[in-house]
């Protein structure tokens, strides 16, 4: 496949890729540019691909209409805790399933894997009742506990296990001879060597938490508890119509930081995902 291409072929490929790029890139561009256009221009005809006039007041209005800073913080700290918790528990479980020989390990692993088959959408009704009985409705607990222990974390455990299985066993034996116990081997040998897998898991987990939508709208009811995805849909006028420019400003603020981090660290992002135990 990877042969040197003729110049004509190259131009054709570039052309094809540029056309294919439009639906991937244009929406983001449209979001950012529309958010800084005056309201009169956002439905301008013909559409303005590059804004001619700027109006940044929408960004301020987003914070006035809703406790947007608080909501931003909610999303950020929940995602951080979920990511941290998942990294800790999944790497521990993944390590044990990959490396430690204990009775019923395989049975336990199968039980844990069942978690993959049961997305939280299936269990949302009993979860709602459980959290209601624990007095955790309209708190952030469900948004932390369910991802850290549910299907996404099982996926993370699976990735970590695949990674640890591929790690040379002799490294750990050397460490045992060097005088380390299980926990120290895990902490000083296995974990430092699993940074690529941890990175991939962190990215997956963060994005999953950051994008969570069903759980927040089921479990949260007051705006100061809302997370970003939920808050974004609330920028409506008195008649329920979308306040597009403000909504797009809020959407831009939600999307842009992650996007910028991604562009800076895109190599680690993409290659981390590609080189996890996902190859089958």
């Amino acid at each position: 496949m990877k042969t040197d291409l003729s110049p004509r072929m190259k131009i054709a490929l570039y052309g094809l890729m540029l056309i294919l790029l439009v639906p991937f890139v244009f929406p983001t561009w449209w979001m950012v540019t529309s958010s800084v256009k005056p309201i009169s221009d956002i439905f301008a005809f013909p559409p303005e691909i590059i804004p001619s006039r700027f109006d940044f007041s929408t960004y301020g209005q987003a914070f006035e209409l809703q406790p947007f800073a608080k909501q931003y913080w909610n999303s950020a700290y929940i995602a951080a805790i979920v990511t941290g918790g998942t990294l800790i528990f999944s790497s521990m479980a993944g390590y044990a399933f990959a490396r430690i020989d204990f009775p019923f390990a395989n049975t336990l692993f199968m039980v844990v894997l069942i978690g993959l088959l049961i997305p939280s959408e299936v269990t949302i009704v009993p979860l709602f009742r459980l959290f209601l009985s624990w007095d955790m409705i309209n708190t952030h607990w469900p948004l932390i506990l369910v991802p850290v222990f549910g299907a996404p974390s099982v996926f993370a455990t699976f990735i970590m296990r695949q990674f640890f299985i591929a790690l040379p066993k002799e490294l750990e034996e050397a460490a045992r001879v060097d005088g380390l116990g299980r926990f120290k081997i895990f902490w000083t040998i296995a974990l430092p060597l699993s940074k690529p897998a941890l990175g991939a898991v962190a990215i997956f987990t963060f994005l999953h938490s950051w994008n969570l939508y069903l759980e927040p709208i089921v479990f949260l009811s007051s705006p100061e508890k809302f997370t970003l995805p939920q808050a974004l849909t609330q920028f409506t006028d008195a008649y329920g119509g979308a306040m597009w420019n403000i909504q797009l400003a809020a959407a831009t603020m939600t999307a842009l930081p992650v996007l910028i981090v991604f562009v800076i660290a895109q190599r680690q992002f993409v290659e981390g995902l590609a080189h996890t135990g996902l190859k089958g």
């Binding site: 997305p119 959408e121 459980l130 895990f186 939508y213 993409v270």
Partner: protein, 309 residues
């Protein structure tokens, strides 16, 4: 030649209860415990409760919880809306998976070419994955308004676009397309890694044997990446059954019920109409479908995957 004073007695006497093997087992349980307990409390117990709840009617406001036997299941079988929901779910999932997998493969093959600046393209194709899901959906909803950007552009070329989100067919196309462009980057990257994992020698051998590029793709590339295709298709299908936010933001299941997929219907029944018992019954239906599809694909895997490491 060592003199070991009756070593057997020594060791019998000294043999501790916490042998190496026992201590290691204990470590294993300690490492696994948080995850296992968490799964039990937040996944397995709720799963059992879904079955239990599906036999009851629960009124949150009146705080009543009444046994109804199989009533919810009778309702499931006679629900006039359900066939429509299942058809919408099937159409959505099938189109999503086919479109997603083919586009991902096409992009991966393109990105696997020796071209200058290919990393930039890779980054851009992947970028929607990291854009907040609801933000992405809101922009598309903005673009797909009757007076939105897409129709504006079409009008520029003299085409009168439809009111995308207000016609059953175009609304379904819209939710599929929005979801595919959002997440196809993930499968694309996995396919690209698989393509790069195919040993170069295979292609060199094929070229020496004079096998044309198209046939190389069918006879070498596809079989070699089939494990990845299988795995991603499972993930994509199960994922397609969980799509909720896009529907909720773009179409709210409409127009009519044309884009009301099972998860959205479940949400409506339980949390908008407060039919929690019936919602639990729909959850079981969703679970059965997910489990059946996963099992089916796992079985097919043996026949379809040409090669496995």
């Amino acid at each position: 030649m060592t003199v070991v004073a009756s070593p057997s007695e020594l060791s019998r006497r000294k043999r501790p209860y916490w042998t190496m093997a026992r201590r290691d087992s204990l470590a294993g349980y300690v490492f696994v415990a948080p995850q296992a307990i968490g799964i039990a409390v937040f996944v397995l117990v709720p799963l059992l409760l879904v079955f239990w709840y599906s036999l009851h009617e629960w009124n949150v406001l009146a705080q009543t919880f009444r046994f109804k036997g199989l009533e919810n299941y009778h309702r499931l079988l006679s629900d006039p809306g359900l066939p429509e929901v299942l058809i919408a779910t099937a159409i959505f999932s099938i189109f999503l998976v086919v479109f997603n997998m083919s586009l991902a493969l096409l992009l991966a093959v393109l990105l696997n070419q020796k071209l200058r600046g290919i990393t930039v393209f890779r980054t851009l194709f992947f970028s929607p994955v990291v854009v907040s899901l609801v933000a992405w959906t809101i922009v598309w909803s903005f673009l797909l308004q009757n007076n939105g950007g897409l129709n504006g552009i079409l009008d520029h070329f003299g085409i009168e676009g439809p009111n995308w989100l207000r016609h059953p067919t175009t609304a379904m196309i819209a939710v599929v397309v929005v979801q595919v462009f959002k997440n196809v980057g993930l499968n694309m990257i996995l396919f690209l890694a698989a393509l790069q994992g195919v040993p170069k020698e295979l292609y060199e051998a094929a070229r020496v044997d004079g096998i044309p590029a198209f046939r190389q793709f069918r006879r070498i590339t596809l079989p070699m990446i089939s494990p990845t295709v299988m795995l991603t298709s499972i993930i994509t299908i199960v994922g397609s059954l969980q799509v909720f936010a896009q529907i909720a933001v773009l179409t709210q299941g409409g127009p009519g019920m044309s884009t009301t997929v099972l998860v959205y219907y479940l949400y409506q029944q339980a949390f908008e109409f407060h039919n929690f018992g019936y919602g639990a019954t729909l959850s079981i239906l969703l679970f059965v479908i997910v489990a059946a599809l996963t099992f089916l694909q796992w079985q097919m895997r043996k026949r379809i995957v040409f090669y496995e490491n």
